[in-house]
C-alpha cells in the first residue's frame, strides 16, 4: 500500500512540479475554451448549411454532409497530424502564406494553433450533428407560422428555429465540450506541453506518476462541476417539459 501511495501520491514530487503541471493545464484550458468556442460556431454554421432549402443548394448540403461524415470518422489524432504535417509543408512550398502554414498568431506557438484548427474541424462536425438534432426537434408548426408571417427561410432559422434549437441542445453540447477538453491532450503529440505531457515529462525524470495524478485531478476540477451542471440543465428542461411547455 505504501508503494501505491508512493507511486501516485508523492506530495513532494507534486509540490515540486506543481507550477510546471499547472502551466500545462493553462494550455489545456486555452485549447479547450478557444477550440470549444470555435467548434460551437463552426458546428452551427455546418448545421445551418445542411438545412439550406431548395434544389439549387443541394450541392452545398451534400458537401456539408460529406464533410461531417468524414471528420466524424477520422481520429482526432490523425487530423492533428494531417494539419501539422500538411500546413507547414504547404507553406514551405509557397502554396499558402507562411502566416497560415506556420501560425504564430497572438504570439502563441504554432502547435497550439495546429491543435485549435484540428479540434475545431473535428468537434465542429460532432457539434453540427447535435445542432441538427435540435433543429429537427423544433416542431414544423414553428416554421409554418414564421413563413405565414412572411419571414424568409433565413429569418425563420435565425429568429425562430435556431434560438429554440440551441436551448434544447445545451446539455449534449456541454457533454461534447467535456470530451473535447479531454481530447486536447492529443495536441501533446506535436510538441505542446499541456497537462498530460507535463505529467509525462515529470514521470520520465522521476519514474513516479504523481504529477500525472495531479493532472488528472486538475481535469476533474473542471469536468465534474461541468457534468453536474449538465445534469442540472437536463433536470430543468424535463421539469419544463412536464409543465407542458414546448
Amino acid at each position: 500500500m505504501d508503494a501505491f501511495f508512493q507511486t501516485y501520491f508523492d506530495f513532494q514530487i507534486i509540490d515540486e512540479n506543481f507550477g510546471y503541471v499547472l502551466e500545462g493545464f493553462w494550455w489545456t484550458i486555452r485549447l479547450s475554451l478557444l477550440g470549444g468556442a470555435l467548434s460551437l460556431l463552426w458546428g452551427l454554421i455546418l448545421a445551418v448549411l445542411r438545412q439550406l432549402p431548395g434544389r439549387a443548394l443541394a450541392p452545398v448540403r451534400w458537401l456539408t454532409v460529406a464533410y461531417i461524415d468524414a471528420l466524424r470518422g477520422i481520429p482526432l489524432l490523425l487530423v492533428i497530424f494531417l494539419i501539422y504535417g500538411g500546413l507547414g509543408a504547404l507553406a514551405s512550398e509557397g502554396v499558402i502564406p507562411r502566416d497560415l502554414g506556420i501560425p504564430r498568431w497572438f504570439g502563441l506557438p504554432s502547435p497550439f494553433w495546429y491543435g485549435i484548427i484540428a479540434i475545431t474541424l473535428t468537434y465542429g462536425a460532432y457539434m453540427a450533428e447535435v445542432y441538427r438534432a435540435g433543429i429537427e426537434a423544433v416542431p414544423s408548426g414553428q416554421t409554418e407560422a414564421a413563413r405565414s408571417l412572411g419571414m424568409s427561410h433565413g429569418q425563420s432559422m435565425r429568429f425562430i428555429v435556431v434560438p429554440q434549437a440551441v436551448r434544447k441542445v445545451i446539455p449534449p453540447l456541454l457533454n461534447d465540450f467535456i470530451a473535447l477538453m479531454k481530447d486536447t491532450s492529443l495536441v501533446s503529440v506535436i510538441g505542446l506541453v499541456e497537462t498530460v505531457q507535463a505529467g509525462r515529462d515529470v514521470y520520465s525524470e522521476t519514474f513516479n506518476a504523481s504529477a500525472l495524478t495531479l493532472g488528472a485531478f486538475l481535469f476533474l476540477v473542471v469536468t465534474i462541476p461541468l457534468a453536474r451542471f449538465v445534469d442540472w440543465q437536463i433536470k430543468k428542461q424535463n421539469l419544463k417539459f412536464q409543465r407542458g411547455a414546448p
Binding site: P139, G141, Q142, A145, L149, G150, P163, A245
Partner: protein, 248 residues
C-alpha cells in the same frame, strides 16, 4: 359592392397517389366571411394551407388581390401573398422563446421594416383588442390555450392582412375557452375583415358566416347561405354529415 379578393381555379393537390383536392373553384369577395365545414379528410384544411402556399398545389391557379400567386405549377409573388394573407393555426404555433408582445412584433420589424417602438405599440394595441392587455409580457407557456390562440390572432393581424385564414382554431381548446376565441373572430368579422374559417363550430358558421361551404372527398359539395346549407341541405352527403354532427 363586391370585389373578388381570392380567386381559385381548378385547384388540385395530391400527396403521392392520394388526391386530396380534386379541382376546387372558389371566389371570395372582400369583406366576406366564409366557413368551410366537412368531415375529416375532406381536404378543407389542405385547401386553406394551399391558399397561402404552405402546401404547394399540384395544379390550378390562385389569385390574391389581383396578383397571381400560383399558376403554371409554381408559386409566384410569394412575398405579396404572405403580406396579404394572415393565418391562424389549430396548434397556435406561438414562438415559445418570445413573450406575447415579441411574438406579435417580430415579423412587423423583420418583414415590414417597422421600428421596434412602432411595432410594439401596434402589438399592445392588438393584444388589447383581443382582450389580453394584462398578458403582454407573458411567455406562451404561462398562457391558457385560448389566450395563446388570441395572441396568435393578434400576431397575424399585426401584418395588416387583407384576408385571414383560420384553420380549426378552436379544435385544440378546452370547451370553456372556445367562446373567448370565437368572440374575437366575431368582432373581426363585424369589422369587415375577409375571413375563411375551417371549423367544426356549426353555431359560429350559422351566426357569423356570409357563406358556408361543405366539402367532402376533395370537392366543394354544396355552398351558400349558412341557414340554407346547415338548415336545409340539398345534397345527400351534406345531409348525412350534418345528421352526424348536429344534435337533434
Amino acid at each position: 359592392m363586391s370585389r373578388p379578393i381570392i380567386e381559385i381555379e381548378g385547384l388540385r393537390k395530391s400527396f403521392g397517389d392520394l388526391e386530396v383536392l380534386s379541382g376546387i373553384d372558389l371566389t371570395i369577395d372582400a369583406g366576406e366571411v366564409v366557413c368551410v365545414i366537412g368531415p375529416s379528410g375532406s381536404g378543407k384544411s389542405t385547401l386553406l394551407r394551399c391558399i397561402n402556399l404552405l402546401e404547394q398545389p399540384t395544379g390550378g391557379r390562385i389569385t390574391v388581390a389581383d396578383t397571381q400567386v400560383f399558376g403554371d405549377g409554381k408559386p409566384q409573388n410569394l412575398d405579396r401573398l404572405r403580406r396579404e394573407v394572415g393565418m391562424v393555426f389549430q396548434q397556435f404555433n406561438l414562438f415559445p422563446h418570445l413573450n406575447a408582445v415579441e411574438n406579435v412584433s417580430l415579423a412587423q420589424v423583420r418583414v415590414l421594416g417597422r421600428s421596434k417602438g412602432e411595432a410594439d405599440r401596434k402589438s399592445r394595441e392588438l393584444l388589447g383588442r383581443v382582450g389580453l392587455d394584462e398578458k403582454v409580457d407573458e411567455y406562451p407557456d404561462r398562457l391558457s390555450g385560448g389566450q395563446q390562440q388570441r395572441v396568435a390572432i393578434a400576431r397575424a393581424l399585426a401584418m395588416d392582412p387583407e384576408v385571414m385564414l383560420f384553420d380549426e382554431v378552436t379544435s385544440a381548446l378546452d370547451p370553456e375557452l372556445v367562446q373567448g376565441v370565437l368572440d374575437v373572430m366575431r368582432e373581426l368579422a363585424d369589422s369587415g375583415m375577409t375571413m375563411i374559417s375551417v371549423t367544426h363550430e356549426m353555431g359560429f358558421a350559422r351566426e357569423v358566416s356570409d357563406r358556408t361551404i361543405f366539402m367532402d372527398e376533395g370537392v366543394i359539395v354544396e355552398q351558400g347561405d349558412p341557414a340554407e346549407v346547415l338548415g336545409n341541405p340539398k345534397n345527400e352527403r351534406t345531409q348525412r354529415f350534418l345528421g352526424l354532427v348536429l344534435p337533434g
